[in-house]
């Protein structure tokens, strides 16, 4: 079992770093649907995979790169508070509803993988709150440093709270949702959004991991192979990334996520989980 879990985690780490979707969305179905692990343990192991993804990527690039620490830190107030809320909610709802929500989130991620596109960065005047919070910055691009301005801070903040709840509820990083919040709502350039999201998912996951640790969801026999597997997978992924075409991979991944998501919902509703 340990070997299977580790192999699966390597795959999750690889896919995670190649497609930009977190490993959690792979780990939970792998453990529950394929290996028959209880969903509570699966959530705990999945949180560990999110932490490993975030730290592994930070270690691989040895600095935050494009990440905007100020934006990340500010939004983490909402995300960590959301994560705590999520952990409270899990204690009160039946596991089958957790499975159903998980399936819905998987379908949504699959949908997002298809529709993601590169958008022109915003050069409009920033809003006042963003300026007060010193969030506007610049990032290196082909034609030198480019400035970018941040918009809709309150709405982005609310989206992060929601992303935090989902993260705490399901044990995933909800990185996709964070990127949507930053890229589409706050008009942060896509590369800055993804790097900042990677900085953030680790912090959000740590906020719920402490609670889940004390509830006994984090079982070392499962979490250890997951952690090592994700480290190995994401490092290999970082090496492979420049060499392969990710477009086809993303499409295959999105389809399989949609299929597994539906399966997850059916199993949840029929009580086979």
């Amino acid at each position: 079992l340990t070997g299977l879990v580790a192999t699966g985690a390597i795959g999750a780490g690889l896919l995670g770093s190649l497609t930009g979707l977190g490993g959690g969305i792979v780990i939970v179905p792998l453990l529950t649907l394929a290996l028959g692990v209880d969903i509570h343990y699966a959530i705990g192991a999945s949180l560990v995979s999110v932490l490993a993804t975030s730290s592994g990527a930070a270690a691989a690039y040895s600095r935050e790169g494009f990440a905007n620490i100020r934006i990340g830190m500010f939004l983490e107030i909402a995300a960590t508070a959301g994560a705590l809320t999520g952990t409270v909610i899990t204690a009160f709802i039946a596991p089958k509803w957790v499975a159903v929500i998980f399936g819905l989130v998987m379908l949504h991620s699959a949908y997002m993988t298809f529709t993601s596109k590169v958008r022109e960065i915003s050069v409009e005047k920033p809003d006042r709150l963003a300026t007060f919070l010193k969030m506007n910055s610049r990032y290196p691009s082909k034609d030198g440093l480019r400035e970018y301005f941040i918009h809709s801070v309150p709405l982005g903040f609310s989206v992060m709270f929601l992303a935090g709840i989902i993260s705490g509820l399901l044990g995933i990083g909800s990185g996709a949702m964070k990127v949507i919040g930053m890229d589409r709502i706050m008009k942060i350039p896509f590369r800055v959004s993804t790097a900042t999201s990677n900085f953030m998912i680790g912090i959000t996951a740590a906020a719920s991991a402490g609670i889940y640790l004390s509830r006994g969801y984090i079982e070392p026999g499962l979490a250890m192979p997951v952690m090592l597997g994700v480290f190995a997978g994401s490092m290999a992924g970082a090496r492979l990334l420049p060499k392969i075409k990710t477009r086809t991979l993303r499409i295959i991944f999105a389809i399989s996520i949609a299929v597994i998501g539906i399966q997850m919902m059916i199993k949840g509703l029929t009580g086979n989980l």
Binding site: L1, S137, F231
Partner: protein
């Protein structure tokens, strides 16, 4: 507002620290994991029904105490604990850097995040 030198420096420092801690976490869990599999791998654990992990694996103090008495499950859990603490340490590094810049808005923001993280790790149920 562009990144100033201080921020660049703390980003670099945080990056190096994460690198170091990732290696530590992997080594601790990996080594004890092999030992765990060799000694008790065959009486396969049952994860299909939720009973919760052993009581001593649920708190920071419990994990450290049992790890010191060389319990292999606790040492694995210690590696996981190092992993959980990495984001907390990252936040602390940036909190310190905002403090040195006297950027009070962000000192407060980082302190709130830090408070939530510490509550979860040390107090929350």
């Amino acid at each position: 507002m562009k990144k100033n030198r201080m921020e660049k420096k703390s980003e670099l420092f945080a990056g190096r620290l994460v690198q170091f801690l990732v290696i530590i976490a992997a080594l601790i869990s990996g080594a004890s994991g092999i030992f765990f599999l060799v000694t008790s791998g065959q009486n396969a654990s049952n994860y299909s029904t939720f009973t919760g992990s052993a009581e001593y694996l649920r708190s920071v103090q419990g994990i450290i105490r049992s790890a010191l008495s060389l319990n292999s499950a606790a040492i694995m859990q210690l590696g996981i604990l190092v992993l959980i603490s990495i984001p907390v340490i990252r936040v602390a590094v940036f909190l310190f850097s905002f403090l040195r810049e006297r950027d009070w808005t962000y000192v407060i923001i980082s302190t709130i995040v830090m408070g939530i993280l510490l509550y979860s790790l040390l107090g929350g149920k």
